[in-house]
Amino acid sequence: MSSNPQIPNPHLQSSSSQSLNFGSKGLRHGSDSEGFSMSRRDLNDDDARLVYVNDPLTTNETFEFSGNSIRTGKYSVITFLPRNLFEQFHRVAYMYFLIIAILNQLPQLAVFGRGASILPLASVLFVTAVKDAYEDWRRHKSDKIENNRMASVLVDHRFQHKKWKDIQVGEVVKVSANETIPCDIVLLSTSDPTGVAYVQTINLDGESNLKTRYAKQETLSRVPEKDFINGLIRSEKPNRNIYGFQANMEIDGKRVSLGPSNIILRGCVIKNTDWTVGVVVYAGRETKAMLNNSGAPSKRSRLETHMNQEIMLLSFFLVTLCVIVSACAGVWLRRHQDELDIMQFYRRKDYSEGQVENYNYYGLGMEIFFSFLMSVIVFQIMIPISLYISMELVRVGQAYFMIRDDKMFDAASNTRFQCRALNINEDLGQIKYVFSDKTGTLTENKMEFQFASISGVDYSGEKTEFYGEQGGYSIQVNGEIWRPKIKVQVDPKLLKLSKTRDDSISSKEIYDFFLALAACNTIVPIVVNASNPNEKLVDYQGESPDEQALVYAAAAYGFMLIERTSGHIVIDIQGERQRFNVLGMHEFDSDRKRMSVILGYPDSTVKVFVKGADTSMFKIIDESLNVDVVRATEAHLHSYSSIGLRTLVVGMRALSVSEFDTWQTSYEIASTALMGRAGLLRKVAINLENNLNLLGASAIEDRLQKGVPEAIESLRKANIKVWVLTGDKQETAISIGYSSKLLTSKMSQIIINNNSKMSCKKSLEDALITSRNVINVTHASEDDASSVALIIDGTSLVYILDSELEEQLFELASKCAVVLCCRVAPLQKAGIVALIKKRTDDMSLAIGDGANDVSMIQMADVGVGISGQEGRQAVMASDFAMGQFRFLVPLLLVHGHWNYQRMAYMILYNFYRNALFVLVLFWYVLYTGFTLTTAITEWSSVLYSIIYTAIPTIVIGILDKDLGRKSLMTYPQLYGSGQRKESYNAKLFWVTMVDTLWQSVVAFFIPVLAYWKSDIDGSSLGDLWTLAVVFMVNIHLAMDVIRWTWISHASVWGSIIATCICVIIIDALPMLPGYWAIFNLAGSGLFWICLLGVLIASMIPRFVVKMFMQHCKPCDLQIAREAEKFRNSMEITRSGEIEMNLPHR
């Protein structure tokens, strides 16, 4: 019955998703990874690492364990040059440059001089190397600081200071409060007599709450200085799972098992514990923190994929040009075959030596071949390799603006937007599907206790203010007032009942219910100072927000948890302190979907308390006891979840002595087992958790995040399909759907809830018919608000995904405006994303906050992580990370749109820019006997893409805005231009190429015809072409710039000026043949008239077409742009603007 999906796609288990299990993650129903049990691999001696406690010599004798010094820097001074070059040449672009440069070094092919041919490669290499060196220097600096931090290490029975880098595996380390852990250590003892240590793992996973770690009973009483601990730890090999650890320790002949709660990882900080002592098991680069230090996943953007197709076309053009040139060269040589020997401008024969030989002539075939290679060298920039480098720079610039956008700053969590993947910025402008998690993504994941149903009685009455005037429940401890940190609204009726202590059944059940809430969890109370010196606040720290909410609720009703150690808990019950022994705990796992605690009462009775998801709990409730209560509770649960509350069911059972003994033996065997411990423990738990008394159910509200309904509305207007994938119950999901405006009352809902493949098939077929009918009706009634919503649950998906029904589901889903998937497991989430990704070309985006969303985030084209309450797993796997769901709107509609427009234009422009230059060179080659002479000096050829035209395209690619933020947010429909690929497609490419051809013809032939049969020399004409082409490409760009800031002005006109200066400098060097050409040229009127004619004539067709299209077929962007300028914000505000953030200024 429980949803155990097949892994839909094997590569989901990629390396970065290994650390998926949240063993102690509390009550995320059905949301835990199935990888839980798999990652607990059994420990053989073969692949174990042996650590001799306090004996680093023996430990490191047999095995080469890594020391604790870390090196994140890639290079040293000596290795920098070779390694950096090696890495750089891994890129295709650089290889292309290199091959061209090498070809040019062959004397037969030396088109350019040595210097000129190496300059492009050298400049790119140099820029990259400087960037790498700077980054590496910073890494080295931080490494040095890290490595030289001090720690106290046990040497010769005394703790002595030692640098971090000198710590070895096997050594015993002492860490004091608020110090950082230098390496992964297994706890031996702590200042706490029960061996508890509190750690903050914010550096590791971003979670700020304290976590508890325990020292083992067997070691915690030893004083390491005096008492020589002699033990052997067998641990698993270093891995990157920060939530898992498996080992055992042999001490005094006993075998003790060690788990994730016994290890503290490098980077954690000790809190609320005076000192801890532990033994190093992993050091340096083998620590889990360092192993997790890998970069963001690399994806390739859709635009870039399309671009690569066009680059293939350009390569084809290049080859065509080269073939034409070499073929013509062959024909020319053949026709002049007999004249070549003494022809003044060829002189094939060398007469200077005694015997007459051919000079630099290798036969017709070879000459044609050389012509081909030479033309490849001359026309090399036809393939805009520098575009890849420009794109990287532009993306860095775009990321800079996204990160610094104060509209995407989350004040609550104090987080900025994060760009983790740098190469898919422009994909954000083309999204068609958004797959969203619910908890923590649409909602805040800040749980608030709302209602309770206790033994069939619903307490969902009117809420009152906080517990009278005092402001919440409080207790007296040593003359101080302790009160819970967070106040909870209470139901006065229930409060009164909970205070009365009589022997009535209802009062007893209420007592047990709240005791269960206070005890059955992993929450640790931390007492902190309040502003009032007589007051202390009890802060409940724990990993599950649901549990925190329940414990706070219990405290508000007078059941205040005030102490928890590994062995006991202390609960203040209505002013009376009671101590319970915690005899055992079965933590939450995703198979059972519940957890249990075995409590020993002061009167030595033993009870087991279980809480969990309703589906898993009702199976183990003893229904024979009280059917009515169960029915009533079920009804209450239904009503709770239908208003969007998260529900939990609590049960309890008293254990007889014999039952307890059986359990205890098997529990001990299981928890010290070396093989398959997790499985054994689960079996023990399942045996124990049955025939429970139903105590009641709780309802917790998870509030919707601010701005979610408006954001979803905007996304929908932008023609983005929003799918919600959640582990929650169907009712909860639907109610959240309504409150977030995902579902509207006008929509017709199709619900698929099936238990077998056949029934799935049938309901899918029915649903398809229904949807067609609804859509037909919709078309007739012209009302786009009414449409179809599909609600499907995880169980049905088990049968549908990876079967032939997938196709039908896709067909159905693509007809629906909204899709809600409930009760889905993490891998099913990925399966659903894959369902869309496989079948359409549309871009998908997945957004989520928890570890259960990791697989989905990695599967989607764009993954967005919410850096919220649930740790950083999602963020680590994501391409972009942000604080709130509503930031998705500015991210997609504003930044995504801009990024796409900018990048698309930049690619087309770069194609044009390079092709224009190549074509001008090509036309000239036709007038030189096909010998690849260039009138344009080699230096100008080289500088063309480095200086003359490089800066403006990058600046415009970063800064130009086709529309303001306000218009884009007001008319989300404008986002459609990216979805329809309006700014970059095959048609635009061809139009651009035709325009390029025309412009090159004008640029070449006007000067040629104007100077035909004149005494113009090559260099002068070359200068004219250089200037004409550079002016043209810059004016072309200027015609397309939409917003002229001073930076755009400076870059466009500045590069024209820079070009003039460069040409002047080149012509002022007497060793070059074109000495003084530009000055003589500029003295003649013909030059200026030519230049003017070229510029105007080349731009006219483009301008006419652009203006014509603008008037007759204006695109939405054009109209919005005009509206922005000519209509004041009248209409813009009319359609109701979404205020995404409170006004700041």
Binding site: E339, I342, Q344, F345, Y346, R347, Y351, E353, Y359, F401, R404, D406, F409, A411, N414, E782, Y927, T928, G929, A935, L959, Q973, I1006, V1008, L1009, A1010, K1013, S1014, D1015, I1016, G1018, L1021, I1042, R1043, T1045, S1048, P1070, P1073, Y1075, W1076, F1079, N1080, S1084, G1085, L1086, I1089, G1093, I1096, A1097, I1100, C1112, P1114, I1119, A1120, R1121, E1124, K1125, F1126, H1144, R1145
Partner: protein, 339 residues
């Protein structure tokens, strides 16, 4: 106060600036119909007169061109021109008469024009040594000049100036007569001043030039430094296109209309080998350079096209107006209206 500064320093909130929020003041030009029409009209108004001006200027240039390579070949050699041109003993003198069509005012430029001569051929362009031309100490810099680098392959005898460009120096000579009176040809200052000053050394003298087995063209006076060998300097400024002219000299007297001029040509230069053509050209000059109608015509054409486009756009805007920024034209509004 203290608390607020503390929270601000802890905050990650991006600092506001118009730059980081992409709100820099910007000029957002939109080409309205008014602008479009105005710009086309302005181009038309600018280009039409300029075109006329160019045509007029070109019309005022008086040009006399005479192709002489075929006609100067004695009939006896017509099947074997190579023999004629390569022989030292044949009579190369050739007399041509030209008629002045219109009055030519001084200065009149004398050009020789070569057609089908690829002075921009890769092999040829590279075959020179600019270092050697500038500096007498760099006479050995003949790496690029092969096979015209050393005399008879002897490394101690570098050719100055080396390379094919210098070797192929044009060596036809012209003498002009009005009746029996010779017209003075001014051969000073026909090369660029900058070349004479910096590119060709005043202390570099020709050496071993045209002393090898194969003579490519003209010879140089060994006693004159390169900076004074203006014919060489002009020749070595390699032409951009395979049909080119080079300045031979200037005539500083006017030639009247219908005057007859006799040109005595020493027909030395071998273009018969590769089917080239030789012409002598006399031309006056003004700001547009030589006679060339192309620019004028193309400017007129451009102006005309712009005028036509302007008119079309006016019609378009009148017949099919579209209010700017009208939201009803937005695609999603249009779709709704259409249904």
């Amino acid at each position: 106060m203290d608390a607020s500064t503390r929270t601000r320093s802890n905050s990650n909130k991006p600092k506001y600036s118009r730059f980081t929020q992409q709100e820099l003041p910007a000029w957002k030009p939109i080409l309205t119909p008014k602008w479009v029409i105005t710009s086309f009209v302005i181009i038309a108004i600018l280009f039409t007169p300029t075109g006329l001006l160019c045509l007029w200027a070109s019309e005022h240039v008086v040009e006399i061109i005479d192709r002489y390579d075929d006609d100067c070949l004695p009939d006896s050699y017509s099947t074997n021109p190579d023999l004629y041109i390569q022989s030292r003993s044949t009579n190369k003198t050739c007399v041509r008469t030209l008629k002045v069509p219109r009055k030519m005012t001084a200065p009149i430029f004398i050009y020789y024009q070569l057609d089908n001569f690829y002075q921009n051929h890769r092999r040829y362009v590279k075959s020179r040594s600019d270092k050697q031309l500038r500096d007498p100490d760099e006479a050995d810099e003949t790496e690029d000049c092969k096979p015209q680098d050393h005399l008879s392959g002897n490394d101690d005898e570098p050719i100055v100036p080396c390379g094919l460009v210098a070797w192929s120096l044009f060596n036809d000579t012209y003498k002009f007569f009005k009746g029996n009176k010779a017209i003075d040809i001014d051969k000073k200052n026909i090369a660029w001043e900058s070349d004479k000053k910096y590119k060709f050394g005043s202390n570099v003298y020709p050496k071993n030039f045209q002393k090898g087995g194969l003579i490519g063209g003209g010879e140089l006076d060994d006693t004159k430094p390169l900076s004074e060998q203006e014919d060489l300097i002009v020749w070595m400024k390699t032409a951009a296109l395979p049909s080119f002219r080079k300045l031979y000299g200037k005539i500083n007297t006017n030639l009247e209309a219908n005057e007859t001029i006799t040109v005595v040509i020493q027909n030395n230069y071998n273009t018969y080998e590769f089917g080239g053509e030789k012409k002598v050209a006399l031309s006056t000059a003004n700001w547009i350079g030589g006679k060339n109608d192309f620019l004028g015509i193309s400017f007129l054409a451009t102006g005309g096209v712009c005028f036509f486009v302007a008119v079309s756009f006016i019609l378009l805007y009148v017949l099919k107006p579209r209010p700017l920024g009208d939201p009803t034209h937005l695609s999603w509004n249009r779709n709704q209206a259409a249904q």
